[in-house]
């Protein structure tokens, strides 16, 4: 009351003196343009001042030349001078300049000051996340955080992203970062189904230590996503629309000189192979521009034709995709409550013709204060997505890369009406018209996600908080896959080597749900004792996962277009699975601060999990870290005008990862060997057949344990004009859960047991410098760098390597003792001790090695991102480049293209005989020794069964292992905010921003990579066997678009 009186009197006095002064008004906003309520404006040298209203507006009287100091909690104070003749001032406060005092949400939803944290943490704010307007939140994080590697593992209308922090730890288990949304652990799939505009910030906890409080799921680090909760003040209404174009940015390199045919059809006098009108292999005559027939004559006698010259039709096949994204949001609040409501609709068509995707999201968040002691926070998000795509992208892509390059595939779009495009008359007897495939094999997929949480915080006395949280995440999915029937004419089935065969209609239908419930209860005690500040947290957590899947399928549909399982012949296929698992945790967290510059922090958590045997299900995870703010503690530094902030930090932790099962079965029920009911070939009539399962599970199975430390420092110079974080970490993960193959004479084929060790160590550096900061200009440049040394130390003596993802030929991505995790293994040429390829002295042909060997490491050792942010008056510009280097990929489309003769490699010797480069032959005079081969040429440099298409070239994996290095222009954006003077005329529009942005605009890859984006993974998104690309990912895309956004 007394304070209020003083304030009131002050105001009165100001009013009295104001008679001789100017009336000054203005608005205070943050750097996003949002008003800052309750900011204080004080006339320098006086105690006179005012505060802003909920809209950020203020009015006061001040003399010309007076200095006003504007400050607000969480913002850097700023001063302005009152100038004669100007009465309206708009002030933008830089947020959180004292970065070290910024509150960061850390593990367990506990807010901690940045300077207290002893582990590496990165905060990505909404503006940075959404600069490129990526539909998928994961895409918006690419390249922005040191130590965080995000790979788009395939293309398509809603790509999958693989999110890995500090390399891979688990050989076969999950290595993806834990995802926490509004303090509740949620499945990783949620990230791709969040509206990025709803996200206030994402805190990346790089290491296990920072996340140890999350217990058995924390070994992979964590992304802590906090959604917007609304702000006090007048309602802010946002409305925006973004339109984004997607186009294919890179095509495999192909030869453009030779077309259909080959030596199998004979050769001319010069030895050139003949053209053939149905041959699918491009080992024929050189292109000559003459019109040639294409495919066998149709039953009516007509015959398709094409100019015999290169045509880029198979690249034009891919569409321009369009994404329309509309957002609205309302945010407001008063003394006791805030709320945030939003909606988004994104509608996507992809580059694969006919592929569609849409996503609708709604969010209602808020806070409410009840009395002085109770605070409630709630967060509710609902998202539905719908896919309508073809299941044949991989085979279509493959067929087109196989196709002779004189054929213009875009001619065959109208397969229903055009007789040459119809499957019956389509020129190629072996491969389907891709337009037909896209129409005939369809998938419709529906997902509905509800993610909600409620938090109640009760503060009975100062310094004690009791917090309860309840979260629910649920996904309901249903899908339908259909294959239409197609009947060929007898003529088309039997002309010219035709392998055209009728397609029978089939359908499969499935639905599933997946629900996670999480309850969290903890008490937080905060006490100051002399120089010590003690913060203690103790709590418990209960998590349950439950899932059910049911699917049915029917073949040989009687009425071809009736896609109903009951319309099939024979017994319909049917499948059901159910899973449930539970985890109970008890945890404690103690942070002791000394004089506000030394902070010791320890956590401990014990978990009990249902999926392991009673003897092994309980385990304890400790962590400890220390933060020392040298710039506060050491007077010499605190007085320094150079060093504005120096924090030294270090931590140690031990966490576990129960590696059983996958994200859909949670590892439930793995311990008991069971019998499977749908044995191959059953039911036999009504007789069921059961079979003994393949895998034995060791009953002693325990979690994989990751132990490690990290050290680092944060250094800011020149009043934070230069900021940096540097972290070195090293971890080892023991007790790998591995399925080791066992002799099948035991009656089983594999044993799941704990064995082996991996390690990961590396350096993470982030640095930014602001060379220019003025009223009009703000320029910041910088970036981040990651060095990663990720290894498999050992597996077992009798299992020196473990296949993570392999192709039928046994080549692929492996974990191999003592090597980088993972390595690409495959066949090489037989080589002499110096590494020259040994060729036959007569045929000139090399031979394939007998066994597979290591051909490359699949993990980039170096990653670098460079960024720049420039604002000039109302313009803002940002750009982000990302580099990854020192690793290799195996491109599985290579052998396919060489088989068909479209591969670029197949024409580098002009289809002539050639001396194999760097080859040797056995010295005829000295058996076992080799001499340089200068003149023995390969006997079959051309032909349908020649060197390029035969087993030696295609089976030698090393021919297709290329550097994975790339630079990408990840994001560029340019935005313009219309000046408020202009907007004021409208009376109700408070902000209008126009922006242009692009993502993955340019990609510069290693010269030897003729194939595709090395980010792709041919193994599934959850598979650790990275480093393989293939035909199942459509060619990589670039995205560019424009946004208009309003604020009311």
């Amino acid at each position: 009351m007394q304070k209020f009186l003083t304030f009131f009197i002050l105001l009165m006095l100001t009013g009295v003196f104001a008679i001789a002064q100017n009336r000054v008004s203005g608005v205070v906003t943050d750097n996003t343009g949002a008003p800052i309520p309750s900011a204080s404006i004080v006339i320098a040298g006086t105690q006179t001042g005012t505060t802003t209203d909920p809209d950020g507006n203020f009015t006061l009287s001040a003399k010309n030349g007076a200095t006003l100091t504007i400050s607000a909690l969480g913002f850097q104070p700023q001063t302005i001078r009152v100038v004669e003749g100007r009465t309206n001032y708009s002030v933008q406060l830089e947020s959180a300049v004292k970065t070290m005092d910024e509150l960061i949400v850390t593990a367990g939803g506990i807010k901690t000051k940045r300077k207290e944290i002893g582990t590496a943490t990165t905060v990505i704010r909404n503006e940075v996340l959404t600069a490129g307007k990526a539909v998928n939140t994961a895409a918006g994080l690419q390249g922005k955080v040191a130590g965080l590697q995000i790979n788009a593992t395939n293309g398509g209308v809603n790509s999958n992203f693989r999110i890995i922090l500090r390399g891979q730890r688990s050989l076969t288990g999950n290595n993806q970062a834990l995802l926490v949304l509004d303090n509740v652990i949620v499945p990783n799939a949620i990230l791709g189904n969040l509206n990025p505009d709803d996200i206030q910030d994402i805190v990346v906890l790089n290491g296990a230590g920072a996340a140890a409080l999350y217990g058995s799921q924390a070994s992979n680090g964590a992304l802590i996503v906090t959604t917007k909760k609304g702000k006090r003040g007048a309602p802010v209404i946002g409305l925006s629309h973004t339109i984004t174009m997607e186009e294919v940015a890179f095509f495999p390199k192909i030869q453009k000189r030779f077309g259909s045919g080959g030596t199998a059809y004979g050769t001319d006098l010069n030895g050139n192979p003949f053209f053939n009108y149905i041959e699918n292999q491009s080992y024929g005559a050189p292109f000559d521009g003459v019109k040639r027939p294409l495919g066998a004559p149709l039953e009516d006698g007509s015959q398709d034709s094409a100019l015999y010259q290169y045509n880029d039709g198979h690249f034009k096949f891919w569409d321009k995709g369009i994404t329309n994204q509309t957002d609205f949001s309302v945010s407001s609040g008063d003394e006791n409550s805030t709320f945030y409501l939003s909606g988004q609709y994104a509608d996507v068509t992809g580059t694969t013709p006919g592929d569609k995707f849409n996503r609708t999201s709604l969010r209602a968040n808020g806070t409410r204060k009840i009395g002085q002691k109770v605070n409630i926070t709630y967060s509710t998000g609902y998202t539905q997505n719908r896919y309508d795509i073809t299941t044949q992208t991989g085979s279509m892509y493959g067929n087109m890369l196989n196709m002779p390059s004189n054929v213009d595939i875009t001619k065959y779009k109208n397969w229903r009406t055009d007789k040459f495009a119809n499957p019956i008359g389509y020129y190629n007897p072996w491969y389907l018209n891709p337009y037909f495939s896209a129409d005939n094999w369809r998938q419709k997929n529906r997902n509905d996600y509800l993610v909600a949480s409620v938090e109640l915080r009760f503060t009975p006395i100062d310094g004690l908080d009791l917090v309860g949280r309840q979260g629910i995440t649920t996904r309901n999915n249903s899908y339908k896959n259909t294959v239409g029937a197609f009947t060929y004419t007898e003529y088309s089935k039997h002309t010219d080597a035709s392998s055209k065969a009728d397609i029978s209609a089939s359908v499969s239908d499935g639905s599933s749900y997946n629900t996670q419930l999480l309850s969290d209860l903890f008490a937080q005690l905060n006490k100051k004792v002399n120089d010590f500040n003690i913060n203690l947290i103790a709590g418990g957590q209960w998590t349950q996962n439950e899932a059910k899947n049911v699917s049915v399928s029917g073949n040989g549909l009687v009425v071809p277009d009736l896609f109903n399982v009951s319309n099939g012949v024979g017994t319909p296929g049917a499948n059901e699975s159910n899973y449930k698992s539970r985890q109970v945790g008890a945890y404690g967290d103690l942070r002791i601060g000394y004089k506000n510059y030394l902070f010791l922090h320890g956590t401990g958590r014990n978990d009990w999990v249902s999926i392991l045997s009673p003897d092994n299900r309980s385990f304890f995870y400790p962590s400890v870290d220390l933060s020392f703010v040298a710039s506060d503690a050491i007077p010499a530094l605190s007085k320094s005008s150079t060093i504005s902030y120096l924090k030294l930090r270090g931590g140690w932790s031990k966490v576990g990862n129960v590696n059983l099962g996958n994200s859909s079965d949670f590892g439930a029920y793995y311990l008991l060997p069971t019998f499977s009911s749908n044995a191959n070939g059953f039911p036999y009539g009504s007789l069921p057949g059961y079979t003994v399962d393949n895998t034995l599970v060791s009953l002693d199975l325990g979690p994989e344990i990751t132990k490690g430390y990290e050290v680092g420092f944060d250094l800011n110079l020149f009043k934070d004009r230069f900021t940096s974080n540097v972290t070195w970490y090293s971890t080892k993960t023991d007790n790998q859960t591995v399925n080791t193959s066992i002799s099948s004479s035991t009656g089983f084929t594999s044993l799941r047991t704990n064995v082996g060790q991996t390690s990961s160590r590396g350096l993470e550096v982030t640095a930014h410098v602001t060379p220019l900061r003025s009223a009009d200009w703000n320029v910041s440049v910088g970036g981040n760098y990651t060095y990663l040394d990720n290894k498999v130390n050992f597996i077992t003596a009798d299992l020196p390597r473990l296949a993570l993802a392999t192709y039928g030929s046994g080549v692929g991505s492996f974990a191999s003792a003592g090597e980088v995790f993972p390595v690409i293994m495959g066949f090489d040429y037989q080589r002499d001790p110096q590494g020259h390829v040994i060729v036959d002295a007569l045929t000139g042909l090399p031979t394939k090695s007998d066994t597979i060997s290591i051909l490359g490491n699949a993990t980039p050792k170096h990653r670098l991102s460079l960024d720049a942010f420039v604002t000039y008056k109302n313009f803002s510009f940002s750009i982000l480049f990302e580099y990854r280097g020192d690793y290799q990929v195996y491109n599985n489309m290579g052998p396919e293209m060489d088989w068909s003769g479209t591969g670029y490699r197949t024409a580098v010797y002009n289809r002539q005989r050639f001396v194999f480069p760097n080859s040797v032959i056995e010295d005829p005079a000295n058996s076992g020794k080799y001499i340089t081969n200068t003149d023995v040429t390969i006997k079959n440099g051309n032909g349908n069964n020649g060197f390029w298409s035969d087993g030696i070239n295609r089976d030698v994996t090393s021919n297709y292992v290329t550097s994975g290095d790339f630079w990408k222009l990840r994001e560029v954006s340019l935005a313009y905010d219309l000046p408020s003077t202009f907007l004021n005329k409208s009376k109700f529009i408070k902000g209008l921003r126009l922006s242009l942005q692009g993502r993955n605009l340019f990609m510069w890859m290693a010269k030897d990579n003729y194939y595709t984006d090395p980010e792709y993974s041919d193994a599934s998104n959850d598979n650790n066997g990275v480093g393989l690309t293939g035909l199942n990912q459509p060619p990589p895309s670039r995205f560019y678009g424009a946004t208009i956004s309003f604020k009311f």
Binding site: S499, S581, R617, S745, T746, G747
Partner: protein, 463 residues
């Protein structure tokens, strides 16, 4: 206290309610039988290439297996894994469950004996493919490195187990149910005949190695063996998936065209003017032309397995036929065993049974047997050649048994494939997986048999 109760709560939670932690014993038996039939019947190049090795068929385009390349597709691994993992372990699980599953003690005894007979059949396939194999220590989840047992010891143990199981069968009591018994529909009498017919087969196989033992086994079995095609041990496939013959899967469903008759078989059929030809193959322009073993045979003139008989989804697989039994008895007479009848009678019965099975009329069968090239008295060669040749023709679509008989009788003579990767395989090499996963046991076995090679003869293969 709370944690203790929570621990118990978690245990209950980890019990799978939707997957069987136990299963009815008969479903495991049926599945073992089905898997065995599939593996024996399929011509899939990854699994069963015996029809190529014995030159019943050759490959049209990719000729690796016809040229004895067993390594590229790791065929021994598949065969080994199929027998142990898909067949034997399911029979073992059935045996483990029958005592608790089946309440009638007599039925229990019958089911155990029937399962054992099928297990013995499977073990005999393994031992006759590889030689020494893991046997006494196999199928034990607590022993990850089972040692290999001497082939002869395994073989003789199988013979004695067979005696025990045949003796245990009680025709007055029920066996498996009519549905679950996919071979004999629950008829225990037939299982007794099958047990004895298997015993006859196994007894004949060791004739060149141990004539005394062979004679006593064959003579004790002979009075109880099959007496007509009705006794054939058949796995009846049906016309609807998934109960179709894998042959149909490979020839028709796959949409592929990989197999053509090999000259070895088809020239023999042509020479003998064999009435089974149209049932075995489809002629091209009225002619039955085969492909040279191991050479590509894409020519338009080359015949294909018959669409109407062989490429049918319900083509049955025969574990053991009456025809084979009669051939064995003919041979037993020639070897001086006391099994009754003359060699010619048994031979005629055998040939007639085969012809009849494939659909040849009685008149045509008689005419065939009357040909001097077929008639037992006048057909070329020794008894081994006469019987070997006709048995080979009768064992069409049963590549494994054709291989065993060819190895044993050494007739008919097979051609050397054009691009042979090795000598004629008289055994399979051990799976590569065994070298990696059970290496100590494997290397001991490899040296015990005289080298893990395809040319290493099995103990009974004396000529």
């Amino acid at each position: 206290m709370v944690l203790a109760s929570c621990n118990k709560d978690l245990s209950n939670l980890n019990i799978d309610t939707k997957h069987a932690s136990t299963a009815p014993s008969y479903t495991l038996f049926s599945n073992g039988v089905r898997n065995l039939a599939d593996y024996m019947a399929t011509p899939n190049v990854n699994t069963n290439v015996f029809q190529l090795i014995t030159q019943q068929w050759t490959e049209v385009t990719y000729t690796d297996e016809s040229n004895y390349d067993l390594g590229t597709r790791a065929i021994p691994d598949r065969w080994w894994r199929g027998m142990y993992k898909l067949v034997l372990v399911n029979f073992k699980a059935a045996k483990d469950l029958i005592p608790t599953d089946v309440t009638d003690p007599a039925q229990q005894k019958n089911e155990l004996a029937i399962t054992d007979i099928m297990q013995i059949y499977t073990w005999s396939v393994l031992v006759n493919t590889f030689g020494d194999i893991p046997y006494t220590e196999a199928l034990d989840p607590d022993n990850l490195f089972p040692k290999y047992d001497d082939a002869k010891t395994v073989y003789y143990d199988l013979l004695s187990r067979l005696d025990t199981s045949i003796a245990a069968l009680d025709p007055a009591a029920p066996g498996f149910g009519a549905d679950a018994d996919l071979v004999y529909g629950g008829d225990v009498d037939e299982w007794i005949k099958f047990g004895n017919s298997l015993k006859l087969r196994l007894g004949m196989i060791i004739a060149d190695f141990d004539a005394t033992k062979s004679q006593s086994v064959v003579e004790s079995a002979a009075p109880h063996v099959f007496t007509s095609n009705a006794d054939n041990a058949t796995f009846a496939y049906t016309t609807t998936t998934p109960n179709v013959n894998p042959v149909w899967g490979e020839l028709v469903q796959s949409g592929r065209d990989d197999y053509a008759p090999a000259t070895t078989l088809i020239n023999l059929l042509n020479t003998l003017n064999d009435p089974r030809r149209p049932f075995y193959f489809d002629a091209v322009d009225g002619k039955y032309v085969g492909g040279q073993p191991g050479a590509g045979s894409a020519g338009k003139e080359i015949a294909r397995p018959s669409a109407a008989v062989i490429a049918q989804p319900d083509l049955p697989y025969i574990f053991l036929s009456y025809s084979e039994v009669e051939f064995a008895l003919a041979e037993a007479v020639e070897r001086g065993y006391n099994v009754g009848g003359t060699a010619a009678e048994h031979y005629n019965n055998a040939v007639t049974a085969s012809l009849k099975f494939w659909g040849v009329s009685a008149a045509n069968a008689a005419a065939y047997l009357a040909q001097p090239s077929v008639a037992y008295a006048t057909a070329a060669g020794t008894y081994k050649q006469k019987i070997g040749t006709q048995k080979y023709l009768a064992l069409y679509m049963d590549g494994f048994d054709a291989w065993t008989e060819q190895r044993r009788l050494d007739f008919p003579k097979l051609a050397v494939p054009v691009d042979a990767q090795s000598g004629y395989p008289v055994r399979y090499p051990y799976p590569v997986n065994e070298q990696n996963l059970n290496s100590a046991s494997w290397s001991a076995a490899a040296s015990a048999i005289g080298g893990d090679k395809v040319e290493t003869k099995l103990f009974w293969d004396k000529f």
